[in-house]
């Protein structure tokens, strides 16, 4: 399979009144066509900002590092995402080849415009089609994601749908332009478990059908285990571990990933005590020196951890970790 999007040395800072805040530091990854990547991390880890960078969708006070490069590979051309400036150029990554679905569908649909009008509008913009054709495709898509009475729903407003329905409509809208890459930012976090299971199932079916790549942002490792092919774990803007989902969940290499898994309540052993990761996530204004995780790490090995930023170590061809416990650069 060929590469769909390549992110190289992505560094992103925000200019604020308190100075420059580093949100993402030197993150590189790539995603193949039809591959689902889980992007895991706590609040403030930079996962949403990273995903938004793929659409060049960060606010004006965002400063990208000089070596940051995001390349989107389309059938006929390659797009250097971060060099796009004009709205007309940006269309290709904002709703064209890349679509995004958000956590809270109530907040992402305009409340005073019908669902259908919002769906048709973007189809007319990106697909250059007539109103009638756009309506036809939208209704078809609503039907495809399991919304009954699609014709009726097309003319309804977001508040008339239940939470699960709204998220389905959101997915229908995102997929109707047939994007090559879908960014799903915590799409099931606001849903009940039973509805979450339905939406995850739907997404899996759609990946098979449309063969697109998905960047799935979530803090729920269970959701990742059920959907992703590979996982990237972020902490305070650093990519600390990356690998195939089975390896990362069964044999996590980074102390942070290990801590996250240990903190998770497990249903097969109710008596097991919960082990929190000690301490709190540092404020982005007080970014620790050296390895950013050293303030909470249970396996600090010495001075190096608080002075040097660990480099990337390849455990095998696809599983890598950034931690001083492993000799940098060399591979097994």
């Amino acid at each position: 399979m060929s590469s769909l999007i390549d992110v190289e040395n992505l560094t992103l800072q925000f200019r604020t009144d308190e100075g420059l805040i580093t949100a993402v530091n030197n993150v590189s990854f790539s995603l193949k066509k039809g591959e689902v990547m889980g992007l895991v991390g706590e609040s403030g880890s930079g996962k949403s900002v990273t995903a938004k960078s793929l659409m060049h969708l960060n606010p004006r006070n965002a400063v990208y590092g000089p070596e940051s490069k995001i390349t989107l590979h389309l059938d006929d051309r390659e797009v250097d995402v971060l060099s796009l400036q004009k709205p007309s150029e940006l269309q290709v990554v904002r709703g064209g080849a890349i679509s995004m679905i958000f956590q809270e569908p109530m907040a992402s649909f305009a409340p005073a415009i019908t669902i259908g009008k919002q769906m048709a509008e973007q189809l007319m913009l990106h697909g250059n089609m007539s109103k009638a054709r756009a309506r036809e495709i939208s209704v078809e898509m609503l039907d495809r994601v399991g919304i009954s009475d699609a014709h009726k729903r097309f003319d309804q407003y977001a508040f008339e749908l239940s939470g699960g329905m709204r998220q389905r409509a959101m997915i229908a809208m995102a997929l109707s332009t047939q994007p090559r890459l879908l960014i799903a930012d915590e799409p099931t976090t606001a849903l009940d478990v039973t509805i979450q299971a339905q939406v995850l199932d739907l997404m899996k079916d759609l990946v098979d059908e449309f063969h697109m790549g998905i960047v799935f942002i979530t803090h729920d490792l269970g959701v990742v285990a059920q959907t992703a092919d590979k996982v990237s774990v972020m902490y305070l803007g650093e990519l600390v571990e990356e690998g195939p989902v089975r390896e990362v969940i069964r044999t996590p290499a980074h102390p942070y990933t290990q801590g996250l898994l240990a903190a998770l309540p497990k249903l097969d052993d109710l008596g097991a005590p919960l082990t929190p990761v000690p301490g709190d996530i540092p404020s982005p204004l007080e970014r620790p020196s050296g390895c950013v995780f050293h303030t909470r790490c249970a396996r600090v090995i010495g001075e190096r951890c608080w002075t040097d930023l660990p480099g990337r170590y390849d455990l095998d061809a696809s599983h890598s970790v950034s931690c001083h416990l492993y000799p940098e650069g060399e591979g097994a």
């Binding site: 706590e42 609040s43 239940s162 939470g163 699960g164 329905m165 009940d192 478990v193 039973t194 509805i195 979450q196 299971a197 339905q198 995850l200 199932d201 803090h219 729920d220 490792l221 269970g222 959701v223 285990a225 059920q226 989902v245 089975r246 969940i249 801590g259 996250l260 898994l261 903190a263 998770l264 309540p265 497990k266 249903l267 109710l270 097991a272 005590p273 919960l274 082990t275 929190p276 990761v277 000690p278 709190d280 996530i281 404020s283 909470r296």
Partner: protein
């Protein structure tokens, strides 16, 4: 059940009137005939989807919503109250005995007050302390229990992370020395690595202060790890209740089974094994007849559509279930 019962609800209902005018009145029954017992000193879990009435039941126990039917008796050994009738000075006294910890620690704390003032406010409002020195003493004591230090008390909430804020909320809830605490989705807004820390703190406080907790959550794995006894609600009804281990190992209601099955497993090889529940929870204004779950239940038969099941004992250890078919379906489990 052994031990003393702190709260005993008997056919408790909470209804809200919706719609205006003479002919358009409708009653939305958020909690419908719930009978449940909460043992003193226990960690009682309440689970269900949104719209199941779990928050309303918690608020009814706090007398924060009007109880429109049935009874709830509160008995902590010192006082006995009938929550449905509670008013005046007795209600005031109940306020300090029963407290609530909110879900979102970012919204629950006033940004204009210092942490000390936030924690001290219940003491001042309820007039529980005689002097400022006494108030400070009490604030410091409870803050220390919630792992907040003196330095923290001088600061404002914005300087704190989510986990710390939730500890401030907990300190505020516990400062009036309550006997009964309702924690409504109190860890839902927290990151996993912090969540475990707050859960451990709640357990510790419960043990040390002899509290009774009602823990409302949609996260079943969190409930499984913290609670002693769990009740499952669906559309205002209690469908199943049992000691945690029994409930998780041998659920008897199809809804409970489906809920457990929907939890995403951490094992990537488990994909697609979950038993999926079709459809969504019906609107409480337009409830189905018979068993309220029959519209989504894979085992529903004609009887389920006509006749509503009552809660019955599945064993003598406090496992109750409301389902017509539990015996034939899961009786052997």
């Amino acid at each position: 059940m052994s031990g003393d019962i702190l709260i005993r609800a008997d056919q408790l209902s909470v209804g809200f009137q919706i719609g205006k005018g003479l002919f358009n009145k409708q009653i939305l029954k958020a909690v419908d005939g719930v009978s449940v017992e909460i043992e003193k000193g226990s960690f009682f879990g309440l689970v269900g989807e949104s719209g199941s009435g779990k928050t309303t039941l918690g608020r009814a126990f706090l007398k924060a919503v009007p109880i429109t039917g049935g009874h709830a008796r509160y008995d902590d050994g010192e006082v006995q109250y009938d929550l449905a009738e509670l008013a005046g000075p007795q209600l005031k006294d109940y306020r300090k005995r029963a407290q609530l910890i909110f879900q979102d620690p970012y919204a629950a704390l006033s940004p204009r007050m210092t942490v000390r003032d936030i924690i001290a406010e219940p003491l001042e409002v309820m007039g529980l302390t005689g002097s400022r020195a006494e108030t400070d003493e009490r604030v410091r004591e409870i803050a220390a229990r919630c792992r907040l230090n003196l330095e923290h008390l001088r600061r404002f909430p914005h300087a704190f992370s989510g986990g710390q804020r939730q500890r401030i909320s907990i300190a505020r809830a516990l400062v009036s020395d309550p006997k009964f605490v309702v924690a409504d989705e109190s860890v839902a807004a927290l990151d996993v690595s912090i969540q475990a820390d707050v859960l451990n703190l709640l357990k510790e406080l419960q043990r040390d202060l002899g509290l009774t907790f009602m823990f409302i959550s949609h996260d079943l794995s969190v409930v499984a790890h913290t609670c002693d006894h769990v009740a499952v609600m669906y559309l205002g009804r209690l469908v199943e209740t049992a000691p945690t281990r029994t409930l998780f190992h041998a659920p008897k209601h199809p809804y409970t089974k489906a809920l457990f099955s929907a939890i995403p497993s951490l094992d990537p090889d488990d994909r697609g094994k979950a038993q999926k529940l079709e459809g969504e929870i019906p609107s409480p204004t337009n409830q189905p007849a018979g068993c309220k779950f029959h519209t989504r239940c894979p085992y529903a038969v004609d009887r389920c559509k006509a006749e509503e099941p009552v809660l019955e004992h599945a064993d003598a250890q406090g496992h109750d279930v409301a389902c017509h078919r539990w015996r034939e379906l899961f009786g052997a489990d």
